[in-house]
């Protein structure tokens, strides 16, 4: 059994809209082990980024309930100053858009040095600079001495993301959260960045949470996968099981809707309806039921729970047992909106 690094217990992250709170993350339980990549997949609005932000404590106006046990501390209920000792040191984060995530008015070197300064007061200015150059080298940035004094807009998208990664690994964190790290990048740059994250993972023995909507990225990177829909986890499995033996209707629909470069498909599968907005999330019963109306109501659970169908493979609700794609995809398609 691998060593547990992070354990999220019944996490609920709610946002206030007008006078009510709406949970974007609604009762999530999840563990991340050392030296493991856990991918969290879902479409926009499923709560995957809200989950990542909750772990990092980056929500400024959300109500967070539940526990997030990081090693021996509950970082969901911790003072801001204690949290700041952990963020950037023991856990760190990479964001989606490296251009907006870097301060446009600060030199690259200064931005990376800041994270060293914050967590290691002993280093002298020269030592910090040395370390920054070393980090830039490590993430594969050519001419690091020059880049040190440059500004974000002078670098390409791929280089900027490398800078973000250098910043994230500067203090050798045990947990790294990557929120759509390659979505804003070209495909060849994407493969280079993923390769880099892979190399670093082996180096650092860290746990990685990879937030993404791209199933190809999941297949290439993940050890385990959690699929999220409407604020809940609907399926968790190791990556091979998830791609070869997916159970939940949402997982299966998602997999069928991706244009697959390996085999020719005539028609892509279309999921009926739309992802509900935060205010309109169904809070009772199976949250996916509205999008598979041909599955009878009686086949859903009243209070859908995660069932362990195999060792380490969990699926929410019993509807998966009765789910099949409709024969006539045509018919299904015109029923939209």
């Amino acid at each position: 059994m691998s060593e547990k690094l992070l354990e999220i217990k019944d996490l609920r992250t709610s946002f206030r809209i007008k006078d009510d709170y709406y949970a974007a993350v609604d009762g999530v339980n999840l563990t991340v082990n050392k030296n493991e990549v856990l991918a969290v997949v879902g479409e926009s609005g499923c709560g995957k980024s809200a989950l990542a932000f909750s772990v990092m404590g980056l929500h400024t106006r959300a109500k967070i309930e539940g526990n997030i046990m990081f090693k021996d501390k509950d970082i969901a209920n911790i003072s801001p100053s204690d949290l700041n000792k952990i963020r950037g040191k023991e856990m760190s984060m990479i964001f989606q858009d490296p251009l907006t995530s870097l301060n446009p008015l600060m030199e690259i070197g200064e931005q990376i040095a800041e994270v060293l300064l914050l967590h290691n007061k002993q280093l002298s200015k020269e030592q910090r600079k040395e370390k920054v150059i070393e980090l830039l080298n490590k993430v594969g940035i050519p001419r690091p001495e020059q880049v040190h004094g440059q500004f974000p807009h002078e670098l390409s998208g791929g280089m900027r993301q490398r800078v973000m990664i250098a910043m994230a690994i500067a203090n050798e964190p045990e947990l790294l959260i990557a929120d759509e790290p390659t979505t804003a990048l070209d495909v060849t740059i994407q493969s280079q960045i993923l390769e880099l994250i892979n190399d670093l993972k082996q180096d650092m023995n860290a746990g990685i949470i990879l937030i993404t909507h791209d199933l190809g990225v999941v297949a290439e990177m993940a050890d385990r996968v959690a699929v999220m829909y409407a604020g809940q986890i609907v399926e968790i499995a190791d990556v091979h099981t998830l791609f070869t033996n997916p159970k939940h209707p949402y997982t299966r629909s998602l997999l069928n809707s991706v244009p697959n470069s390996n085999e020719a498909q005539d028609k892509l599968h279309v999921i009926q309806g739309i992802v509900p907005s935060l205010q309109n999330l169904p809070r009772e019963g199976c949250r996916f039921s509205a999008r598979i109306p041909w599955v009878a109501e009686s086949e859903h659970e009243d209070h859908p729970e995660l069932h362990e169908v195999n060792d380490g493979h969990f699926v929410r609700c019993t509807c998966y047992k009765h789910f099949d794609f409709p024969d006539n995809e045509e018919e299904q398609q015109h029923g939209i909106s």
Partner: protein, 310 residues
Amino acid sequence: MAFLEVKDLKVHFPIKGGIFGRTVDHIKAVDGVSFELEKGKTYGLVGESGSGKTTTGRAIIGLNNITSGSVTYEGQDITNIRRAKSSVRKDIQMIFQDPYSSLNPKKRVLDIVAEPIRNFESMTKKEERIRVQELMELVGLSPESILKYPHEFSGGQRQRIGIARAVALKPKLIVADEPVSALDVSVQAQVLNFMQDIQKELDLTYLFIGHDLGVIKHMCDHIGIMYRGRYVEEGTVNDIFTNPQHIYTKRLVAAIPDIDPNKRAEQRAFRKEVQTEYEQSFNDYFDEEGLAYDLKPISDTHLVALPEKG
């Protein structure tokens, strides 16, 4: 006669510099691109950011000025499309990337979809309304929703409103600039399926501009790969995906994430191999400025940018 023929297309943007802001140099966004579209087919224009693929599409439709070269549509020269006959302008329409910013938020769907009709055809209010309702039905949206505003629709629905606007004049050619890049996978599937359906229904020709090779492979018959304003390879889907010849294409194809986790190690090794080859043979495939050579045919359908001597 080709349906649409683009010949040696160049789009250069001036760089202003010096004290008096004179033009000191040009950015060669598109630099000598030629291709032909076949009627009723989908032609994919692929490249990474800065390759000039979007500029090419915008130049054809008249949104960017053409520096030199020619565009011929059904035998007529439409290089200067803004001065072309209105029948030709009606025939060529565009779908934009971002369904959130390409629809005017202050206009009702009725006015958005009817806009091209008002520009090109004279219809009474009633006829126009009926036509818009038909179009809404065609794109799978309820005809009653024509009085709503764009923000009341989801991303996929908005993109279909964009398509309704593009097909309002029964065009023959649609330039689709990354039509699904801003959409979630399940919504993307919806839009792609729909684009295929109406292609059959209206006998449309697509110029499909994109960077997601999975989508391109799914949608296109012919593909052109661009790099820094020039073509590096052109061919059928098969030519490009199973028999890529140019090192740039090989690298691009190798970079596509494989959806099968069991092939992970294999894929990684293959990618490393291609990367090594790319680094070693870069100078063999590109000239001193790092630009691609002219295309040379290697089969009936397959053209590759190779230097004079093999």
